[in-house]
Structure formats: C-alpha cells, structure tokens
Symmetry: C2
Subunit: 207 residues, 2 copies
DNA sequence: ACCTGAACACCGTTCAAGT
DNA sequence: ACCTGAACACCGTTCAAGT
C-alpha cells in the first residue's frame, strides 16, 4: 500500500533556496537540504535522482517564473524584445546566488525554451527569418547571459572597481580613466545601454 | 639552506590542463594534479596557497596567452575591435574545458585587463568617451562571455539541437522552425553574426 | 628548506535494514 | 511503500614528522 509522499518538488526547491540564501551556493549539499527539511539525507533520493536533478529543479523554479506571455503587439518590436530581456534579467537578479547553476543547467530549462519561443515570435513580426533569426536570438541570449554574469560576478562593479582604481595607470591609462567613469554608471544603465546597442544593431541587420 | 624548488607554476598548470583534457574539469583535484606530477598531494601546497590559486593559474595561462598588442591602426575601428574579440575567442576555444573556471576567475585576470586596455584604446580612437566607453566595453565583454558559453555549453548546437528538433512543434512553432535553420549556421558564422550586430549598434551609438 | 603521510571534516551515493 | 543509518569512495586542507 503506497503511503502518500511527504514531500513535493516545490518543498525541495524552497529548502535548497533557503540553504543558498543562508550559506551561499557553496553551502548547498544534499545533507544541508535534508537537514533543512528535517529528513534523512537519503530521504531526498526518493524525490530526486541525484544532486544534478535537484539543481535542475532550482534553476527551473527561477527561470520558469519568468512571464513569457507576448508583450502587447502594438509596441515597436525593439521595445517588446527589451521587455522580454528585462523580465529574464529581473528573475535572475532576484536570485543571483543561482547564476552559476543556470550556466550549467540553462540548456535543459523549459522556461528558457518558452522565453525563446516568445522572442522568436517577436523577431518574426519584425521581419527576421531563417538564419538571420537564429543569429539574432543567439546574440540576445549571448549578451543576456554574459551581461548577467558581469553584473553579479563582474570586475567593474563592487570590489573590482577598487582593484581597478589601484591599477598602475602608467600601464593601463584607459582602464584607469574608465574606472573613474565606471561608478558614475549604475548597473541598470550599463545593462540597458548594452541592450540598446544590440537593438540598434539588430534594426540595422534586419535586412 | 634553501633547497631549490623542484616545481614551477608552469608545471602545475601543465599538469592541471593534462588532467582536465583527460578526465574533464570534474576530474580536476589536488590529488589528481599531484599524481600527474609524481608528487605527494601536500607537496602542491608549497607552490600554491589552495585550490583556488591553482585554478587562477590555469585561467591566467589561457587568458594570458591572448595577443593584446593593438592591431594596425590603419584598419577601421570596427575591424580592430573584431580582431581583439576574435583573439580572445580563439584562446578560449582552444581550451573549452576551462570555461567554467574563467567564469569564476576572470575578474582577477591580468590578461583580461590587458585585453580591456587595448580595446578601450581602440574605442577611444573611435570617439567613445566617458560613460559611453564604459558601456561599449561592457557590451563587448558581456557578449563575448555569454556567446562563448552558448557556443561550448549551449542549447542550439550539438545535443541541444536534437532535443530542440524533438520539441512539440504545436507548443513551440518558432523554435521548431529555428531548429531547422540552426544547423545551417556554423558556430563561427553564429558568433561573428552576433558580433557584427553589436558592432553595427556601436557605430550607431557612437554619437 | 622542502616534502611526506596520517588524520579531520566534509562530499555524493550504494546498500541492507527497519516500519 | 517509504524512510533510515552505516558504509564507501571520494574531496580540500591541517598538522606533526621526516630528510
């Protein structure tokens, strides 16, 4: 007689996120998650094949939360793409601790697939087709992935800026100068400035 | 009387790369590197503070190999930037196994600083100044980092493409269509196509 | 001084046993 | 059927000891 399962995937994910919030990603372990749930370590294996699957569930709970309904079609396509990019950025920005996990598990995420589907629809409306549309999507995804990592693990902000300012300005004159301007530019401006550059280039490359 | 050290950092790095090449990044451990060198595990700690420093040395040997001498100044600035981007991509592409390590250690790499210095010089020539130059550099770095990860860990190429083609095309019509075109587009075209979009946008945003 | 091996505090996971 | 604890094969790193 099958007893009802006492745990849900959502509970596993919530426990894992609690561990990550409290002890950082390095503190994430099967033992820690089990303790968080008040369950034996091996109890987790009834709900999950291995650690890899637990990580996948965590990533999906973050990326799957992104709103992938198409933005209002009366806005210009650039604005609609920007909306989609912003939604994904906001979701990841709310949980920066999982960024290293998204790097490894992104390619199996249904949430990212849904996001890509919506963005491709917008690009289609904008007149992108065939190989050109493939390249456009990849350019957007590439920028998004890299920019998020720069933003949250990056060199020009936070502790990195101090390091940069201490550089021998004889060897790195431009970098030293840039360090001064860097802290005038907030993370939001920086991200959207780069996105803007990309969107301008897309408009030109639309053919 | 100080005996001469029997190992150099270069030897440590070479051993670490040999382990990564043979067993993948997951196989990299202090024990494995020590065995590769025919030395006790703890022997490594005479040359390196901890595993983190070993990883940093590996990353620097890859990123530090990039040629950062400014490309000939008679070429258009877009072409010079493209050259710098290509150089970094080629260096990382030659050692894709270390990409996850570059994610974590990039911000402390002198090689990346030298690269950035050269790129900033080109952007300076092109008329970018102040905050605009900061944003331009970050956009390039963001794309580069993200695109390299997409290329080597990504969804649209390799195994991912097969997964994509198997998608329920009712739910993901654009994605299914894109999967068909995806394998017409090689990794090089894809990368350079995205870079081209970015450079066009930069030219427009130069103001 | 340089290098070693045992030991400690962790991992993820297998397996036999409990209810 | 669901859950547990002991055990195994790994980690990185500390520490006392060898030459």
């Amino acid at each position: 007689m099958p007893r009802p399962r006492s745990l849900t995937h959502d509970q596993l994910v919530a426990a894992a996120l609690a561990v990550i919030d409290r002890e950082g990603l390095a503190g994430l372990s099967m033992r820690a998650v089990a303790k968080e749930l008040g369950v034996s370590t091996m109890g987790l294996y009834r709900y999950v094949d291995d650690r890899d699957e637990l990580e996948r569930l965590v990533v999906e709970s973050v990326l799957g939360a992104v709103d992938t309904t198409p933005p209002p079609a009366d806005a210009p396509w650039q604005e609609r793409v920007a909306t989609m990019v912003r939604r994904l950025r906001d979701a990841v920005g709310a949980r920066p601790g999982v960024i290293p996990l998204t790097v490894t598990h992104r390619h199996r995420s249904p949430g990212v697939l849904r996001w890509s589907e919506t963005v491709l629809g917008i690009l289609d409306d904008a007149g992108f087709a065939g190989a050109r549309r493939v390249v456009a999507l990849r350019a957007l995804l590439g920028y998004l992935i890299g920019a998020l990592q720069l933003e949250h693990l990056g060199p020009l902000s936070g502790a990195g800026t101090a390091t940069l300012a201490a550089l021998p300005s004889a060897d790195f004159p431009h970098l030293a100068d840039t360090a001064h301007h860097a802290h005038e530019v907030g993370a939001d401006e920086e991200f959207h400035g780069g996105l803007d550059i990309l969107l301008r280039g897309l408009a030109e490359a639309r053919g």
